[in-house]
Subunit: 197 residues, 2 copies
DNA sequence: GTACCATCTGAGCAGTGTCAAGTTTCCCTC
DNA sequence: GAGGGAAACTTGACACTGCTCAGATGGTAC
Protein backbone atom coordinates (compact mmCIF):
# COMPACT_ATOMS: atom_id res chain seq x y z
CA UNK A 1 0.00 0.00 0.00
CA UNK A 2 2.87 2.28 0.83
CA UNK A 3 4.22 1.92 -2.65
CA UNK A 4 1.88 3.63 -5.05
CA UNK A 5 1.27 2.42 -8.53
CA UNK A 6 2.59 5.65 -9.99
CA UNK A 7 6.14 6.33 -8.99
CA UNK A 8 6.06 10.10 -8.87
CA UNK A 9 9.25 11.07 -10.63
CA UNK A 10 10.59 7.93 -12.18
CA UNK A 11 12.63 9.77 -14.75
CA UNK A 12 14.63 11.60 -12.12
CA UNK A 13 14.97 8.45 -10.01
CA UNK A 14 16.35 6.50 -12.97
CA UNK A 15 18.91 9.18 -13.75
CA UNK A 16 19.98 9.33 -10.11
CA UNK A 17 20.41 5.60 -9.84
CA UNK A 18 22.32 5.68 -13.09
CA UNK A 19 24.67 8.21 -11.53
CA UNK A 20 25.35 5.83 -8.64
CA UNK A 21 25.97 2.85 -10.91
CA UNK A 22 28.26 4.97 -13.05
CA UNK A 23 30.46 5.97 -10.13
CA UNK A 24 30.48 2.51 -8.58
CA UNK A 25 30.91 0.24 -11.54
CA UNK A 26 31.35 2.31 -14.68
CA UNK A 27 29.27 2.71 -17.78
CA UNK A 28 29.82 -0.86 -18.88
CA UNK A 29 27.61 -2.11 -16.06
CA UNK A 30 24.76 0.25 -16.80
CA UNK A 31 21.55 -1.63 -17.59
CA UNK A 32 18.03 -0.35 -17.98
CA UNK A 33 16.59 -3.38 -16.26
CA UNK A 34 18.90 -2.90 -13.31
CA UNK A 35 17.92 0.75 -12.99
CA UNK A 36 14.27 -0.23 -13.10
CA UNK A 37 14.91 -2.81 -10.42
CA UNK A 38 16.61 -0.24 -8.21
CA UNK A 39 13.66 2.10 -8.65
CA UNK A 40 11.33 -0.72 -7.67
CA UNK A 41 9.56 -0.72 -10.97
CA UNK A 42 8.97 -3.14 -13.81
CA UNK A 43 11.57 -3.63 -16.52
CA UNK A 44 9.57 -1.79 -19.15
CA UNK A 45 8.57 1.26 -17.11
CA UNK A 46 11.65 3.27 -18.17
CA UNK A 47 10.43 3.19 -21.76
CA UNK A 48 7.72 5.67 -20.82
CA UNK A 49 10.39 8.22 -19.95
CA UNK A 50 13.17 7.43 -22.41
CA UNK A 51 13.08 6.18 -25.97
CA UNK A 52 15.62 3.55 -25.04
CA UNK A 53 18.96 3.07 -23.36
CA UNK A 54 20.73 5.43 -25.75
CA UNK A 55 18.27 8.15 -24.87
CA UNK A 56 18.87 7.73 -21.16
CA UNK A 57 22.62 7.81 -21.65
CA UNK A 58 22.27 10.94 -23.74
CA UNK A 59 20.33 12.56 -20.90
CA UNK A 60 23.13 11.62 -18.53
CA UNK A 61 25.58 13.23 -20.95
CA UNK A 62 23.59 16.45 -20.95
CA UNK A 63 23.56 16.42 -17.16
CA UNK A 64 27.31 15.95 -17.12
CA UNK A 65 27.81 18.77 -19.60
CA UNK A 66 25.82 21.10 -17.38
CA UNK A 67 27.89 20.17 -14.36
CA UNK A 68 31.08 20.82 -16.27
CA UNK A 69 29.71 24.18 -17.30
CA UNK A 70 28.89 25.03 -13.71
CA UNK A 71 32.38 24.07 -12.57
CA UNK A 72 33.84 26.48 -15.12
CA UNK A 73 31.91 29.42 -13.74
CA UNK A 74 34.07 29.56 -10.61
CA UNK A 75 37.08 31.64 -11.64
CA UNK A 76 36.44 35.37 -12.07
CA UNK A 77 39.77 37.11 -12.41
CA UNK A 78 39.62 40.58 -13.88
CA UNK A 79 42.41 39.78 -16.34
CA UNK A 80 40.83 37.66 -19.08
CA UNK A 81 44.07 35.79 -19.73
CA UNK A 82 44.28 34.77 -16.10
CA UNK A 83 40.62 33.81 -16.16
CA UNK A 84 41.05 31.66 -19.23
CA UNK A 85 43.96 29.85 -17.62
CA UNK A 86 42.03 29.35 -14.40
CA UNK A 87 39.06 27.98 -16.32
CA UNK A 88 41.41 25.56 -18.01
CA UNK A 89 42.66 24.28 -14.69
CA UNK A 90 39.09 23.85 -13.42
CA UNK A 91 38.23 21.94 -16.60
CA UNK A 92 41.00 19.46 -15.92
CA UNK A 93 40.15 19.21 -12.22
CA UNK A 94 36.52 18.46 -13.01
CA UNK A 95 37.52 15.70 -15.38
CA UNK A 96 39.88 14.11 -12.88
CA UNK A 97 37.43 14.44 -9.99
CA UNK A 98 34.47 13.03 -11.94
CA UNK A 99 35.92 10.85 -14.66
CA UNK A 100 32.70 9.02 -15.47
CA UNK A 101 30.82 12.29 -15.85
CA UNK A 102 33.55 13.75 -18.00
CA UNK A 103 33.60 10.74 -20.30
CA UNK A 104 29.85 10.81 -20.58
CA UNK A 105 29.84 14.41 -21.73
CA UNK A 106 31.94 13.39 -24.71
CA UNK A 107 30.58 9.98 -25.50
CA UNK A 108 28.89 9.98 -28.86
CA UNK A 109 28.12 6.33 -29.47
CA UNK A 110 24.81 6.95 -27.77
CA UNK A 111 23.44 10.38 -28.38
CA UNK A 112 25.34 13.54 -29.17
CA UNK A 113 25.06 16.84 -27.32
CA UNK A 114 26.97 18.93 -29.81
CA UNK A 115 25.83 21.34 -32.43
CA UNK A 116 28.20 24.09 -31.46
CA UNK A 117 30.18 24.95 -34.53
CA UNK A 118 28.58 25.64 -37.88
CA UNK A 119 29.67 23.79 -40.96
CA UNK A 120 31.30 27.05 -42.04
CA UNK A 121 33.55 26.92 -39.00
CA UNK A 122 31.95 29.90 -37.29
CA UNK A 123 31.40 29.60 -33.58
CA UNK A 124 27.83 29.56 -32.43
CA UNK A 125 29.13 29.61 -28.93
CA UNK A 126 26.03 30.73 -27.13
CA UNK A 127 24.27 27.53 -28.11
CA UNK A 128 26.70 25.22 -26.48
CA UNK A 129 27.08 24.47 -22.81
CA UNK A 130 30.61 25.14 -21.71
CA UNK A 131 31.46 26.91 -24.89
CA UNK A 132 29.51 29.98 -23.83
CA UNK A 133 31.91 31.04 -21.13
CA UNK A 134 34.87 30.15 -23.29
CA UNK A 135 33.56 32.30 -26.13
CA UNK A 136 33.02 35.24 -23.78
CA UNK A 137 36.51 35.25 -22.37
CA UNK A 138 38.07 34.68 -25.77
CA UNK A 139 36.28 37.73 -27.11
CA UNK A 140 37.85 39.82 -24.36
CA UNK A 141 41.33 38.60 -25.22
CA UNK A 142 41.26 38.56 -28.98
CA UNK A 143 39.60 41.28 -31.05
CA UNK A 144 40.07 39.65 -34.45
CA UNK A 145 37.12 37.37 -35.13
CA UNK A 146 38.97 34.83 -37.18
CA UNK A 147 41.66 34.61 -34.54
CA UNK A 148 38.97 34.12 -31.90
CA UNK A 149 38.07 30.78 -33.37
CA UNK A 150 41.70 29.73 -33.52
CA UNK A 151 42.31 30.78 -29.93
CA UNK A 152 39.16 29.12 -28.62
CA UNK A 153 40.00 25.87 -30.35
CA UNK A 154 43.60 25.93 -29.21
CA UNK A 155 42.60 26.64 -25.62
CA UNK A 156 39.80 24.12 -25.48
CA UNK A 157 41.88 21.53 -27.26
CA UNK A 158 44.70 22.00 -24.80
CA UNK A 159 42.70 21.51 -21.63
CA UNK A 160 40.47 18.82 -23.10
CA UNK A 161 43.54 16.88 -24.12
CA UNK A 162 45.13 17.25 -20.72
CA UNK A 163 41.92 16.09 -19.10
CA UNK A 164 41.68 13.10 -21.44
CA UNK A 165 45.26 12.05 -20.84
CA UNK A 166 44.62 12.07 -17.11
CA UNK A 167 41.27 10.31 -17.33
CA UNK A 168 41.71 7.80 -20.14
CA UNK A 169 45.33 8.08 -21.17
CA UNK A 170 48.87 7.49 -20.05
CA UNK A 171 48.73 10.02 -17.22
CA UNK A 172 46.02 8.09 -15.43
CA UNK A 173 48.34 6.78 -12.70
CA UNK A 174 48.98 10.38 -11.69
CA UNK A 175 45.33 11.31 -11.44
CA UNK A 176 44.98 10.12 -7.88
CA UNK A 177 47.05 12.97 -6.54
CA UNK A 178 44.79 15.94 -7.21
CA UNK A 179 47.32 18.45 -6.02
CA UNK A 180 49.85 17.16 -8.47
CA UNK A 181 47.31 17.20 -11.29
CA UNK A 182 46.52 20.84 -10.58
CA UNK A 183 50.20 21.67 -10.58
CA UNK A 184 50.87 19.86 -13.84
CA UNK A 185 47.83 21.42 -15.49
CA UNK A 186 48.96 24.88 -14.45
CA UNK A 187 52.44 24.25 -15.78
CA UNK A 188 51.20 22.94 -19.11
CA UNK A 189 48.70 25.75 -19.55
CA UNK A 190 51.27 28.35 -18.61
CA UNK A 191 53.53 26.96 -21.29
CA UNK A 192 51.01 27.80 -23.94
CA UNK A 193 51.36 31.38 -25.15
CA UNK A 194 47.75 32.37 -24.85
CA UNK A 195 48.16 36.09 -25.11
CA UNK A 196 50.47 36.13 -28.11
CA UNK A 197 48.62 36.74 -31.32
CA UNK B 1 36.21 -31.44 -46.03
CA UNK B 2 37.33 -28.21 -47.63
CA UNK B 3 36.84 -26.43 -44.36
CA UNK B 4 39.18 -27.89 -41.86
CA UNK B 5 38.35 -28.34 -38.23
CA UNK B 6 41.16 -26.07 -37.26
CA UNK B 7 40.82 -22.60 -38.56
CA UNK B 8 44.46 -21.77 -39.01
CA UNK B 9 44.73 -18.30 -37.56
CA UNK B 10 41.45 -17.60 -35.85
CA UNK B 11 42.89 -14.95 -33.60
CA UNK B 12 44.02 -12.84 -36.52
CA UNK B 13 40.74 -13.47 -38.37
CA UNK B 14 38.69 -12.33 -35.39
CA UNK B 15 40.70 -9.14 -35.04
CA UNK B 16 40.36 -8.43 -38.75
CA UNK B 17 36.62 -8.94 -38.75
CA UNK B 18 36.42 -6.76 -35.67
CA UNK B 19 38.19 -4.04 -37.64
CA UNK B 20 35.55 -4.25 -40.35
CA UNK B 21 32.65 -4.15 -37.91
CA UNK B 22 34.24 -1.22 -36.15
CA UNK B 23 34.49 0.86 -39.28
CA UNK B 24 31.06 -0.12 -40.55
CA UNK B 25 28.93 0.04 -37.44
CA UNK B 26 30.99 1.27 -34.52
CA UNK B 27 32.09 -0.36 -31.33
CA UNK B 28 28.56 -0.58 -30.00
CA UNK B 29 27.75 -3.27 -32.54
CA UNK B 30 30.78 -5.38 -31.77
CA UNK B 31 29.80 -8.85 -30.58
CA UNK B 32 31.94 -11.88 -30.00
CA UNK B 33 29.26 -14.16 -31.35
CA UNK B 34 29.00 -12.12 -34.51
CA UNK B 35 32.75 -12.21 -35.01
CA UNK B 36 32.70 -15.97 -34.53
CA UNK B 37 29.89 -16.24 -37.07
CA UNK B 38 31.85 -14.20 -39.60
CA UNK B 39 34.85 -16.42 -39.10
CA UNK B 40 32.65 -19.47 -39.64
CA UNK B 41 33.27 -20.83 -36.22
CA UNK B 42 31.22 -21.66 -33.13
CA UNK B 43 30.25 -18.99 -30.64
CA UNK B 44 32.71 -20.10 -28.01
CA UNK B 45 35.74 -20.67 -30.18
CA UNK B 46 37.07 -17.15 -29.57
CA UNK B 47 37.56 -18.02 -25.91
CA UNK B 48 40.53 -20.15 -26.87
CA UNK B 49 42.28 -17.02 -28.13
CA UNK B 50 40.99 -14.29 -25.83
CA UNK B 51 40.01 -14.33 -22.18
CA UNK B 52 36.80 -12.62 -23.09
CA UNK B 53 35.37 -9.70 -24.99
CA UNK B 54 37.34 -7.19 -22.92
CA UNK B 55 40.55 -8.95 -23.84
CA UNK B 56 39.75 -8.84 -27.54
CA UNK B 57 38.91 -5.15 -27.36
CA UNK B 58 42.16 -4.52 -25.51
CA UNK B 59 44.04 -6.27 -28.32
CA UNK B 60 42.27 -4.03 -30.82
CA UNK B 61 43.38 -1.05 -28.76
CA UNK B 62 46.98 -2.18 -28.87
CA UNK B 63 46.71 -2.58 -32.64
CA UNK B 64 45.29 0.92 -32.91
CA UNK B 65 48.06 2.34 -30.77
CA UNK B 66 50.66 0.78 -33.03
CA UNK B 67 49.04 2.25 -36.09
CA UNK B 68 48.98 5.67 -34.49
CA UNK B 69 52.62 5.26 -33.67
CA UNK B 70 53.41 4.35 -37.26
CA UNK B 71 51.53 7.37 -38.55
CA UNK B 72 53.66 9.61 -36.36
CA UNK B 73 56.88 8.34 -37.85
CA UNK B 74 56.25 10.15 -41.10
CA UNK B 75 57.59 13.67 -40.53
CA UNK B 76 61.36 13.99 -40.40
CA UNK B 77 62.23 17.67 -40.46
CA UNK B 78 65.71 18.51 -39.28
CA UNK B 79 64.41 21.22 -36.98
CA UNK B 80 62.94 19.44 -33.96
CA UNK B 81 60.37 22.16 -33.37
CA UNK B 82 59.09 21.79 -36.90
CA UNK B 83 59.09 18.02 -36.50
CA UNK B 84 57.12 18.21 -33.27
CA UNK B 85 54.53 20.42 -34.93
CA UNK B 86 54.29 18.14 -37.93
CA UNK B 87 53.86 15.12 -35.69
CA UNK B 88 51.05 16.94 -33.95
CA UNK B 89 49.27 17.53 -37.23
CA UNK B 90 49.67 13.87 -38.18
CA UNK B 91 48.26 12.86 -34.81
CA UNK B 92 45.11 14.86 -35.45
CA UNK B 93 44.83 13.63 -39.03
CA UNK B 94 45.09 10.03 -37.92
CA UNK B 95 42.31 10.53 -35.39
CA UNK B 96 40.01 12.18 -37.90
CA UNK B 97 40.77 9.63 -40.61
CA UNK B 98 40.30 6.61 -38.35
CA UNK B 99 38.02 7.75 -35.57
CA UNK B 100 37.15 4.25 -34.36
CA UNK B 101 40.78 3.28 -34.14
CA UNK B 102 41.65 6.47 -32.33
CA UNK B 103 38.88 5.98 -29.78
CA UNK B 104 39.93 2.41 -29.25
CA UNK B 105 43.48 3.40 -28.42
CA UNK B 106 42.14 5.42 -25.51
CA UNK B 107 39.27 3.31 -24.32
CA UNK B 108 39.89 2.06 -20.85
CA UNK B 109 36.58 0.45 -19.90
CA UNK B 110 37.92 -2.74 -21.37
CA UNK B 111 41.61 -3.14 -20.92
CA UNK B 112 44.25 -0.48 -20.64
CA UNK B 113 47.37 -0.16 -22.75
CA UNK B 114 49.09 2.44 -20.62
CA UNK B 115 51.91 2.17 -18.17
CA UNK B 116 53.90 5.05 -19.51
CA UNK B 117 54.44 7.46 -16.66
CA UNK B 118 55.77 6.36 -13.33
CA UNK B 119 53.98 7.24 -10.13
CA UNK B 120 56.79 9.68 -9.52
CA UNK B 121 55.86 11.55 -12.67
CA UNK B 122 59.00 10.61 -14.54
CA UNK B 123 58.57 9.68 -18.15
CA UNK B 124 59.37 6.13 -19.02
CA UNK B 125 58.86 7.06 -22.59
CA UNK B 126 60.58 4.18 -24.29
CA UNK B 127 58.00 1.80 -22.91
CA UNK B 128 55.02 3.45 -24.47
CA UNK B 129 53.94 3.29 -28.05
CA UNK B 130 53.61 6.75 -29.47
CA UNK B 131 55.33 8.32 -26.54
CA UNK B 132 58.72 7.10 -27.72
CA UNK B 133 58.93 9.42 -30.67
CA UNK B 134 57.49 12.26 -28.66
CA UNK B 135 60.07 11.79 -25.92
CA UNK B 136 62.89 11.77 -28.48
CA UNK B 137 61.94 15.01 -30.16
CA UNK B 138 61.22 16.68 -26.82
CA UNK B 139 64.73 15.84 -25.65
CA UNK B 140 66.14 17.60 -28.67
CA UNK B 141 64.16 20.75 -27.96
CA UNK B 142 64.41 21.00 -24.22
CA UNK B 143 67.60 20.25 -22.29
CA UNK B 144 66.14 20.63 -18.79
CA UNK B 145 64.72 17.28 -17.71
CA UNK B 146 61.93 18.62 -15.60
CA UNK B 147 60.88 20.93 -18.39
CA UNK B 148 60.91 17.97 -20.77
CA UNK B 149 57.99 16.41 -18.94
CA UNK B 150 56.08 19.68 -18.94
CA UNK B 151 56.69 20.19 -22.65
CA UNK B 152 55.78 16.64 -23.56
CA UNK B 153 52.55 16.79 -21.61
CA UNK B 154 51.62 20.18 -23.01
CA UNK B 155 52.30 19.08 -26.57
CA UNK B 156 50.57 15.72 -26.29
CA UNK B 157 47.67 17.27 -24.43
CA UNK B 158 47.24 19.87 -27.11
CA UNK B 159 47.05 17.53 -30.07
CA UNK B 160 45.12 14.86 -28.21
CA UNK B 161 42.54 17.44 -27.24
CA UNK B 162 42.26 18.75 -30.77
CA UNK B 163 41.83 15.23 -32.04
CA UNK B 164 39.18 14.46 -29.43
CA UNK B 165 37.21 17.60 -30.19
CA UNK B 166 37.15 16.64 -33.86
CA UNK B 167 36.31 13.01 -33.23
CA UNK B 168 33.95 13.07 -30.26
CA UNK B 169 33.40 16.73 -29.51
CA UNK B 170 31.85 19.90 -30.83
CA UNK B 171 34.14 20.13 -33.85
CA UNK B 172 32.84 16.87 -35.26
CA UNK B 173 30.80 18.51 -38.01
CA UNK B 174 34.04 19.92 -39.39
CA UNK B 175 35.85 16.61 -39.46
CA UNK B 176 34.56 15.67 -42.88
CA UNK B 177 36.68 18.25 -44.61
CA UNK B 178 40.15 16.84 -44.05
CA UNK B 179 41.86 19.81 -45.65
CA UNK B 180 40.13 22.15 -43.27
CA UNK B 181 41.01 19.97 -40.29
CA UNK B 182 44.67 20.05 -41.26
CA UNK B 183 44.55 23.78 -41.61
CA UNK B 184 42.87 24.29 -38.25
CA UNK B 185 45.25 21.90 -36.54
CA UNK B 186 48.23 23.72 -37.97
CA UNK B 187 46.84 27.06 -36.84
CA UNK B 188 46.12 25.85 -33.32
CA UNK B 189 49.49 24.16 -32.97
CA UNK B 190 51.30 27.20 -34.34
CA UNK B 191 49.59 29.28 -31.70
CA UNK B 192 51.24 27.30 -28.97
CA UNK B 193 54.68 28.62 -28.13
CA UNK B 194 56.52 25.34 -28.31
CA UNK B 195 60.04 26.63 -28.46
CA UNK B 196 59.80 29.15 -25.64
CA UNK B 197 61.08 27.79 -22.39
C1' DG C 1 -19.25 9.86 -12.78
C1' DT C 2 -17.31 8.85 -16.76
C1' DA C 3 -14.09 9.09 -20.25
C1' DC C 4 -9.45 10.00 -21.23
C1' DC C 5 -4.55 9.24 -21.23
C1' DA C 6 -0.06 9.03 -19.23
C1' DT C 7 1.95 5.61 -16.39
C1' DC C 8 2.99 1.12 -15.23
C1' DT C 9 2.79 -4.33 -15.59
C1' DG C 10 3.52 -9.01 -17.71
C1' DA C 11 4.76 -12.11 -21.01
C1' DG C 12 7.76 -12.90 -24.63
C1' DC C 13 11.40 -12.47 -28.47
C1' DA C 14 15.96 -12.19 -30.17
C1' DG C 15 20.39 -11.52 -28.97
C1' DT C 16 24.46 -11.39 -25.80
C1' DG C 17 28.79 -13.02 -22.75
C1' DT C 18 30.37 -16.89 -20.50
C1' DC C 19 31.02 -21.58 -18.59
C1' DA C 20 31.44 -26.79 -18.49
C1' DA C 21 32.00 -30.86 -20.83
C1' DG C 22 32.86 -33.45 -24.86
C1' DT C 23 35.12 -34.00 -29.72
C1' DT C 24 38.48 -33.47 -33.34
C1' DT C 25 42.93 -32.55 -35.02
C1' DC C 26 47.72 -31.48 -34.80
C1' DC C 27 52.30 -32.56 -33.37
C1' DC C 28 55.90 -34.50 -30.70
C1' DT C 29 58.05 -38.66 -28.97
C1' DC C 30 59.18 -43.36 -29.09
C1' DG D 1 54.47 -45.71 -38.10
C1' DA D 2 51.95 -45.84 -33.36
C1' DG D 3 50.71 -43.62 -29.18
C1' DG D 4 49.55 -39.84 -26.30
C1' DG D 5 49.03 -35.22 -24.80
C1' DA D 6 47.84 -30.59 -25.78
C1' DA D 7 45.58 -27.22 -28.39
C1' DA D 8 41.66 -25.94 -31.12
C1' DC D 9 37.10 -26.34 -31.74
C1' DT D 10 31.84 -27.80 -30.81
C1' DT D 11 27.50 -28.51 -28.32
C1' DG D 12 24.47 -27.22 -24.86
C1' DA D 13 23.05 -24.41 -21.41
C1' DC D 14 22.48 -20.37 -18.07
C1' DA D 15 21.73 -15.81 -16.79
C1' DC D 16 21.31 -11.58 -18.54
C1' DT D 17 20.25 -7.78 -21.76
C1' DG D 18 17.29 -4.25 -24.81
C1' DC D 19 13.00 -3.92 -26.70
C1' DT D 20 7.98 -4.66 -28.29
C1' DC D 21 3.21 -5.33 -27.56
C1' DA D 22 -1.21 -6.07 -25.38
C1' DG D 23 -3.46 -5.01 -21.30
C1' DA D 24 -4.15 -3.24 -16.31
C1' DT D 25 -4.20 0.93 -13.34
C1' DG D 26 -5.38 5.27 -11.54
C1' DG D 27 -5.12 10.38 -11.49
C1' DT D 28 -7.61 14.18 -13.81
C1' DA D 29 -10.55 17.04 -16.73
C1' DC D 30 -15.07 17.41 -18.16
Amino acid sequence: MAASYHHGDLRRALLDHAGSVLEEKGIGSLSLRDLARRAGVSATAPYHHFKGKADLVAALGTDAMEQLDAALAGPDHADPNARLRAMGVEYVMFAVSHPERFRLAFRPEMGDPFTGVGADGAMRGDDVLGFRQLAAVVREIEPNEEQQVALAIAAWGMVHGLASLFVDGPLRPLAEDLGRVRQMAEAAIARMGLSTS
